[in-house]
């Protein structure tokens, strides 16, 4: 018994596009691990500083961009200062895009979770700094734990670190309340090993779905305080931030796509058992 896999692709495409065109929403249940991230970020006060490591390429943009948007906007609305960095060679474009889009949306007034925020202009060097990219993540994390200036003598735009207002008096992770790593790949584990293990930084992870199950042991051991895995994690954070975006929109498609895949798995198993039975009868 054989079945051309292209029929699976076609039916999945039809279901996904069909569901996308059908306007409805699905309830999103909030997990404790996603809530932990939101609670920690929401508890930050004006003037506090965090480090956001945007360690993903465009190929993981679908799952991690919504998290970066939601958390960065929450921080800027609360006037929390953010140090952006990337340990992924194509991650610079990701940060650039997020900063560009968020600068636009922050100009408008908004109310999130019942709190009114006045529109404002975010200023590079005052509200945030983007350090840019350096290779060899483990070495860079180690070096940043000593002094940000060691791996990053200038920021992404070529400005010497010491002349950036936000970096004056900021030496290393000691001045950051927490680190959030949005990661696709083994950089997440390097943050656990070198960032948390060496310097004890309070660390939260937003990872791709593929990595999700592998990260739960670190949550249980307390090496990370929060975890947002895949599009579901991103949708949970969007809901918690009261800032619906592409992740929440994508969850309704996930629902029907998963139902279809479960049906295919059941059909595959029935086919397998039936073939085995027929072979035995022969």
């Amino acid at each position: 018994m054989s079945f051309d896999r292209r029929w699976v692709f076609l039916s999945l495409a039809i279901v996904c596009v069909g569901t996308y065109l059908w306007d409805f929403s699905v309830p999103i249940t909030i997990s404790e691990e996603a809530r932990s991230i939101y609670d920690e970020v929401a508890a930050l006060k004006e003037g506090d500083m965090i480090y956001m490591s945007v360690d993903y390429d465009p190929n993981a943009l679908a799952e991690l961009h919504p998290t970066t948007y939601a958390l960065a906007e929450l921080c800027f609305r609360k006037k929390v200062k953010v140090i952006f960095g990337t340990l992924s060679n194509l991650g610079q474009g990701m940060v650039d895009q997020v900063l560009h889009d968020i600068s636009d949306s922050l100009r408008d007034t908004a109310t999130y979770n019942g709190v009114f925020y006045e529109g404002r202009e975010i200023v590079n060097g005052v509200d945030y700094v983007f350090l840019g990219y350096k290779p060899y993540p483990a070495m860079v994390i180690q070096a940043m734990g000593l002094d940000f200036r060691v791996p990053f003598p200038t920021d992404y735009y070529g400005t010497p670190i010491d002349s950036i207002p936000i970096m004056q008096g900021t030496k290393n992770f000691d001045q950051c309340k927490l680190v959030v790593d949005m990661a696709a790949g083994n950089v997440a584990e390097m943050w656990i090993t070198y960032g948390h293990g060496n310097y004890g930084v309070p660390l939260a992870l937003a990872v791709t779905g593929v990595m999700g199950a592998d990260m739960y042991p670190y949550l249980r051991s307390g090496q990370i305080f929060g975890l947002a895995a895949g599009l579901l994690g991103a949708a949970q954070l969007e809901k918690l931030c009261d800032n619906p975006g592409r992740a929440m929109d994508g969850m309704r498609i996930q629902l029907f796509a998963h139902i279809l895949i479960i049906l295919f798995i059941i059909m595959g198993n029935i086919g397998f058992l039936a073939t085995r039975k027929l072979n035995k009868l022969k």
């Binding site: 292209r6 799952e63 483990a138 999700g212």
Partner: protein
């Protein structure tokens, strides 16, 4: 809407369709998109290495010296050591001199191993061992919490025994028979549950990628149908028209071949 935005969005939409065409079968459109991604990524990375790493981290630090003295008059002379190690790596291109490149590789491997071994051991072995066992040594964990709470005593026992059983499955010095077969089977179940969770997340991840592409194509449609881009819309319709005609041609050929095979 700016022309550049329209143009890039259209190109993105076109490349998306080119890439998806591989799901049917390998074809020139897919090849074009694939080569473009590889080429653009390599070129971009080369520029990033120059502008973001070599200039600020090396040349700017040696800037107080003179290049015609090979920066030997710089106050931060020691930055020439990693620079020299980097240059030594280029000897890989010579068959006779390639042995020189082993020195920087050996140095790097030594530093990396020295740095990684104790920290990896602590973060990924000792911490995990501690985490797997600490839940069962505190009696308070056994009262008042749900079995689905991963910190509860019962959940901790399941995790602890599951870890041992999964490890035992890979222990081949003892034949898996009798009691050991039972432990090993329990280990397989634990592994399968783990793989199942990973598979579920992976499916979600892959669907997420497709969902994002649908959203991009939707954005492209929104961009194309508003504003004065008649000429471009016509041009891209032509491009997509060719694409669709080719796809229809291939589908017809597929069913024709299928019919011929069935007859023979």
């Amino acid at each position: 809407m700016e022309w550049s935005t329209f143009l890039w969005t259209t190109l993105g939409a076109f490349l998306t369709l080119c890439t998806f065409s591989f799901l049917y079968k390998d074809n020139p459109f897919y090849k074009f998109a694939e080569h473009l991604v590889v080429g653009v990524s390599a070129g971009y990375f080369a520029l990033v290495l120059w502008h973001q790493i070599l200039i600020p981290n090396l040349f700017a630090r040696l800037n107080d010296g003179d290049w015609y003295f090979l920066w030997l008059n710089s106050a931060q002379l020691w930055y020439l050591i990693p620079a020299a190690l980097g240059v030594m790596m280029w000897t890989r291109f010579s068959k006779k001199k390639s042995w020189i490149s082993r020195w920087p590789i050996a140095l790097y491997m030594g530093i990396a191993a020295g740095m990684a071994v104790p920290r990896e051991m602590h973060a990924r072995v000792i911490e995990q061992l501690h985490s797997a066992m600490r839940g069962i040594i505190d009696w308070n964990n056994f009262f008042g919490s749900s079995v689905f709470d991963t910190t509860s005593g019962i959940a901790s026992i399941i995790i602890f025994l599951g870890t041992l059983a999964a490890l035992f499955y890979f222990f081949f010095s003892k034949e898996h028979s009798g009691v050991f077969k039972g432990i090993s089977s329990f280990g397989i179940w634990i592994l399968m549950i783990g793989f199942g969770a990973s598979f579920g997340y992976t499916v979600m991840g892959r669907i997420s990628l497709f969902v994002q592409r649908i959203q991009v194509l939707d954005d492209w449609t929104a961009v194309s149908w508003q504003g004065d881009h008649g000429g471009f819309v016509f041009f891209w319709f032509l491009v997509f028209g060719v694409f669709i005609v080719w796809a229809v041609f291939e589908i017809v050929k597929y069913f024709k071949n299928k019919g011929t095979t069935a007859e023979s």
